[in-house]
Amino acid sequence: MKIAVGQGSCGIAAGAQKVSDALKKCLEKSGISVGVTGCIGMCWLEPIVDIYDNDNTLHRLVRVSEKDSERIAEAVKTNDFSQVEKLEITDEDNSFLEKQTRIALRNCGIIDPDDINAYVDAGGYSALSKVLNNMSAEDVIEEIKISGLAGRGGAGFPTWFKWNAARQSQGQEKYLICNADEGDPGAFMDRAVIESDPHTLIEGMLIGAFAIGASHAVVYVRAEYPLAIIRLQNAIEQAKKAGFIGENILGSNFSCDFRIKAGAGAFVCGEETALIESLEGNRGMPRLKPPFPAQAGYWHKPSNINNVETFANVAWIISNGGNAFAAMGTPDSKGTKVFALTGKIKRGGLVEIPMGKTLRDVIFDIGGGIRDNKEFKAVQMGGPSGGCIPAHLLDTVIDYKELGKTGAIMGSGGMVVMDESTCMVQMAKFFLDFTAKESCGKCVHCRIGTKRMQEILTRITEGNGKDGDIELLEELCSGIKDGALCGLGQTAPNPVLTTIKYFRNEYEAHINNKKCPAKECRDLLSYEIDSEKCKGCTLCARKCPANAITGQVKSAHIINPSVCIKCGQCAAACKFGAISVK
């Protein structure tokens, strides 16, 4: 009998810790212990309790609450799971996992992240041992080249090429850096990997360090991920004790130290040269390239920076061979990619699939489509650097090139799904608010251009849009693209350009007709009472915080539009569906 409660940040937020404590209490006397796993990626089912019964059959109990703990404890003690049948995962929900191919996430939610032995038992550190005993640095780089692994942090640059450049760069002291800044709001795969399987990251980084000849490894983790930092720190300590980190690793002449640096909250620090500035204790302002980090990076020494997910694939590639990885995917994009599926989706969580599947496969087949029977409108990919892909492009193949053609990007894998109630102008404004705030201020176009775009989008959503605003936005977009030094500015226009490209009519409705088709822009809404349906119950008038509704009992009420603050409380309160919003 083995029990484990999934305790990633999201599981804990859903109450997993409380479930675990309650279970421990119920099982105290039985001598059965309650273990921990990380995040399996089925976030909509949290808290999740996995139980392997006496026949080693898995019972996955979902949406468990504290009050279920006694029943579960009883089932565990008697090995009779009929009493918790209602909690067992349905076949339909289970298909979410069965349809995936997990490489980067292979151990997530399965092993105990705080126990190095669990990782070793799952085959962990055997790739490192293979590298140190049987491979040269060139062999490693060749294997990665065969695999076709490309950077998962956004740009999709071939990993072997960067490693090779850093290897060939002159200099005794070299650094290997992991970018765990995960700034794209809506993406959380890096957090999940670190919280659920930190040794996968450590092993991948050690292999990378060996390949480029680095003796120092640093992980830059964003400040908002306290649990990831704790688990990674613990894993580093354990790996040191086991001889995987430090001097003469596994008896070889390869030595490498390892440390964590916590970020302090700045999106631009995800950009690799800004990250280096931040590591050096400065304001995180990007540097001019060249020189590239491979020539002059951290402390101006040759450095290589990769994303968490990139490293999470490395040990698997070494163990299984580059060809096994390259066998998956498309001619342009190899292997698998992890996506964080969120927004108005039925089954939100982490999805790892081979490249070459379509957006429809991920959103509808795996994610179950849109919540509350609404219509799919668009999916946002690539965060502030990406764009919104509309319904008619749902059959786009997941591949760096194909996604790029839509105007969005693969990015780090955030997929925020939107339905008919999301206003695309608001969406564009949301991202411009973000980039205007996060621009480091170094380049004038980015600093001031994003601000001007933000102002224009704000006035459009407030009903003050002018003829020519769309063209002005487009002009600013091209100016910023050309005038910015780093990826932040160069890609900041993408959310605006893609929404104008695919949803121009929505912009026009805001500007010309002063209407928001998605009914999200408050200033453009008008509430009306249908005198046929209104029964004169007075409920709306009593609810209205602005006293904008008048009328006699049992006769139709009316809303005074000049007083109405469009809070929507009347429409929510009306029992007769008499209040409509236009």
Binding site: F188, W299, T342, G383, V416, V417
Partner: protein, 167 residues
């Protein structure tokens, strides 16, 4: 931020000594030192900025420049309960604006402010990485997901209730 140190009189700068002894000599540690200082004082008082500058041989302007660049650093004391409300994409799509409004109505504060009784501070953040439970907020170290206005009121009431009882 104040321009003099007169509001800093109660700050015990000796608490910083251990941090400075450990990190001041290591190049590139400025951000780490500021993080540890904020852990001690809850924010970065002006006198702390000067002391860190002194110990790291930086100008106070450089220290201040770094501190103001990063959203994590604060220059005013925060309330006992720091509410970090996510304004990331997933939370935006699932209605974080309504949640922000509810918190503001309940507490009378908005982003960057603290209630008069010093109990709550509100801070908007970009993403807490729990996007599939959006909208999400964190109060001190605890994360709350799938928020609705009613749920937020309940959470805040609970905290206020606990505080009243502990007096």
């Amino acid at each position: 931020m104040s321009c003099c140190n007169c509001n800093d009189t109660k700050i015990d700068l000796s608490l910083l000594d251990a941090v400075l002894d450990e990190y001041a000599g290591i190049p590139g540690s400025l951000i780490t030192i500021l993080q540890k200082a904020q852990d001690i004082y809850g924010y970065l008082p002006t006198s702390v900025i000067y002391k860190v500058a002194d110990a790291t041989s930086c100008t106070p302007a450089k220290v201040m420049g770094v501190a103001t660049f990063y959203t994590q650093f604060r220059f005013k004391p925060v309330g006992k309960y720091l509410i970090m409300l996510c304004k990331g994409t997933a939370c935006h799509v699932n209605g974080s604006d309504t949640i922000a409004k509810t918190i503001s109505e309940e507490l009378g504060i908005t982003d960057g402010e603290t209630t008069e009784d010093g109990l709550f501070s509100l801070s908007f953040v970009a993403c807490l990485g729990c996007c599939s439970l959006s909208p999400v907020m964190m109060i001190n170290d605890e994360t709350y997901g799938s928020l609705t206005p009613a749920k937020v009121k309940e959470i805040l009431d609970d905290i206020r209730h606990r505080e009243v009882q502990s007096i």
